[in-house]
């Protein structure tokens, strides 16, 4: 029993860090699916791209870590605007199958590009000295960077929620998620709204990928390997909802960490089984109102 309590604390700590990163990456997916009804399986590629921007900005350009982080956001958001305008927007009216296939195609291309440019190996993250140490919490030592992750993600999430719930842009997004035709008829330019929201969601994925590069290793197979988890966050959390996916991400972060700690031989098995059971119980997700 003595070893049990500290391990619970440790699992909670690492699980929350992992969950918050999952949320920052996936929230854009939830919003694009809820707002535009677009099944974007390639969302993970944006997170991977953010990770590559961060690692190469530090190792190749010698950029400081605090500058490399926003750079990951900006570059990924900018690229996603181009993709949205040129490609994604052509498929808004298309069926689910077309969207699924198209985005699987994008994943393949992203994976291949990453392989050619960066090689198969995972990218090391060069953390600055001041984020490297360890901190003591509830009688246990934790890496300082994880604590930074939790604080930084928390700040990002708070800013996002404030933006969606308190600003005009947020009101427009919520109106459009609720009823797109109505939103259009009261003069909201949904076309531009889509582009901006898509860019923001992708940028956040990039930022999440960069922040979390130390937890979720940056390597070419990233978009395939973690796709299921991003989808689970959205599906279990509930489409188009902002807080649902947050709860789902924390749930997954903590339980995945717990499973890997206590029953490593079963890996992700329990997570998937739990997902299946939850979706059977509530097809619209834990906090969703529609399917």
């Amino acid at each position: 029993m003595e070893a049990f309590l500290p391990s619970v604390v440790s699992i909670a700590f690492h699980g929350v860090a992992y969950g918050m990163i999952l949320y920052v990456i996936s929230v854009g997916l939830s919003v694009t699916m809820g707002l535009m009804g677009f099944v974007n399986l390639a969302h993970g590629a944006f997170a991977m791209a953010g990770g590559y921007v961060l690692t190469s900005a530090i190792s190749r350009l010698g950029l400081a870590f605090p500058l490399a982080l926003p750079l990951a956001f900006i570059v990924v958001a900018a690229v996603s605007v181009l993709l949205e305008r040129w490609l994604y927007s052509r498929l808004y009216e298309a069926g689910e199958l077309e969207q699924v296939l198209f985005t699987i195609g994008l994943i393949f291309m992203a994976v291949a590009t990453a392989q050619v440019v960066f090689g198969m190996l995972q990218q090391p993250v060069l953390l600055p000295e001041y984020l490297k140490g360890r901190v003591s919490l509830l009688g246990r030592e934790f890496p300082l960077y994880r604590l930074f992750l939790i604080v930084a993600s928390g700040a990002i999430i708070a800013a996002l929620w404030f933006g969606v719930e308190r600003t005009l842009w947020g009101a427009m997004v919520r109106a459009a998620v609720d009823n797109r035709t109505m939103a259009q008829s009261i003069g909201i330019n949904t076309r531009r709204l889509f582009t901006v929201t898509f860019a923001l969601g992708s940028g956040l994925a990039g930022l999440g990928g960069a922040l979390g590069a130390e937890i979720i290793a940056i390597q070419p197979t990233y978009p395939f390997e973690h796709l299921a988890y991003f989808l689970i966050v959205v599906a279990v959390g509930g489409l188009g909802s902002l807080r649902g996916p947050f709860a789902a991400a924390l749930l997954i972060g903590v339980s995945d960490t717990a499973c890997k700690y206590w029953v490593p031989e079963f890996g992700a098995f329990f997570i998937y089984v739990a997902t299946i059971l939850i979706l059977l119980w509530r097809p619209a997700g834990l906090f969703g109102t529609r399917v």
Partner: protein, 324 residues
């Protein structure tokens, strides 16, 4: 292409529909060095055909069709390697039954949902199958794969040879039988009802069709076919690896079917043929470019050529007819 099926369609086999079979027989005599690749292509055609039935005709989108393929492969492999059942026909039947049973069970769940939830469930079920196969090492061989699969001669007479002659003919026979069955199904009232569900589910409910039950039947038939294809792979390779399960083989299969053309029966023939031959020549030499090429192909097909290769052929034929 629903115009070919339904209550006004002639179900007779047209002359051009014999072409693939003639080509397959010609290949047997003309390309003796490629029979192993040929058997692989035939197996994947069967697998793609099973996906076409539910994706192309019934409109069910699944990211986890490999679950049935993998179950078929492992059932045949385990029965042979661990339990000494080596009759190829018996193994196919056992694999089809097991995959079908799993099809009923998982379909009963999946088909009650739709949209993202349905996609997610198909993916999750496929991944769970992969995890189980990965972890149950004593039975499945785990990451090393399942070796020691021995197969008796087909009908007690035709031994599986090194050159793949028996494998090729055996796969061709099974595929022919499955094609004939599938063809009957899609031309039947049941096939017409599936197309109706894909076209307009709301109306199908309103005309009294038990949509869920129809879909479940189709899903089960498709699972049995995919399981048969998996068992064929196990028999002809005499080995089962983890690469038959999970998201990647499902995605790859979708790519093949899209490439050939969805919902037109013969798209399932053209797609795997082109894909696997291209893969055989290109993938080993230029792996990165191969993946990039597949991705690009998918994007291009979705944006510009939704009917796949056969859709393009249709368009060319239509244009040619107009000019003459």
């Amino acid at each position: 292409m629903t115009s070919f099926i339904g209550y006004g369609a002639d179900p007779g086999i047209r002359l051009i529909e014999w072409l693939p079979w003639l080509a397959a027989i010609a290949a047997f005599f003309l390309l003796p060095d490629y029979l192993s690749l040929g058997a692989r292509v035939l197996t994947y055609i069967l697998f793609a055909l099973s996906l076409d039935l539910i994706l192309g005709y019934a409109g069910i989108i699944t990211l986890g069709h490999s679950a049935f393929f993998g179950i078929g492969a492992y059932v045949a492999g385990i029965l042979s390697a661990k339990l000494g059942v080596i009759d190829p026909v018996l193994l196919l039947v056992a694999a089809a039954v097991m995959a079908g049973a799993f099809g009923v069970a998982s379909g009963a769940v999946i088909l009650r949902t739709h949209g993202l939830t349905q996609l997610m469930l198909t993916l999750a079920i496929a991944v769970v199958c992969l995890e189980i196969a990965h972890k149950a090492t004593p039975i499945t061989g785990g990451a090393d794969g399942l070796s020691g699969v021995t197969i008796a001669p087909v009908f007690g007479a035709f031994r599986f040879d090194l050159f793949g002659k028996t494998a090729y003919v055996w796969c061709l026979t099974v595929l022919f039988a499955s094609w004939w069955l599938t063809r009957r199904i899609i031309y039947s009232p049941f096939g017409a009802a599936l197309a109706g569900i894909r076209e307009n589910r709301v109306r199908m409910h309103a005309i009294g069709v038990p949509v869920y039950r129809r879909l479940l039947t189709a899903y089960t038939i498709s699972a049995m076919m995919a399981g048969t294809a998996g068992a064929l792979l196990a028999e002809t390779n005499q080995f089962v690896g983890l690469n038959v399960l999970g998201f990647e083989p499902s995605g790859e299969l979708m790519v093949m079917l899209i490439l050939g053309g969805v919902g037109r029966l013969y798209g399932a023939f053209v797609g795997p043929l082109v894909y696997l031959i291209a893969q055989d020549f290109l993938a080993k030499q230029f792996p990165e470019y191969w993946y990039f090429g597949i991705g690009l192909m998918l994007v291009v097909v979705v944006l510009f050529a939704r009917g796949g290769i056969l859709g393009l052929v249709d368009k060319l034929v239509a244009r040619w007819r107009k000019q003459n």
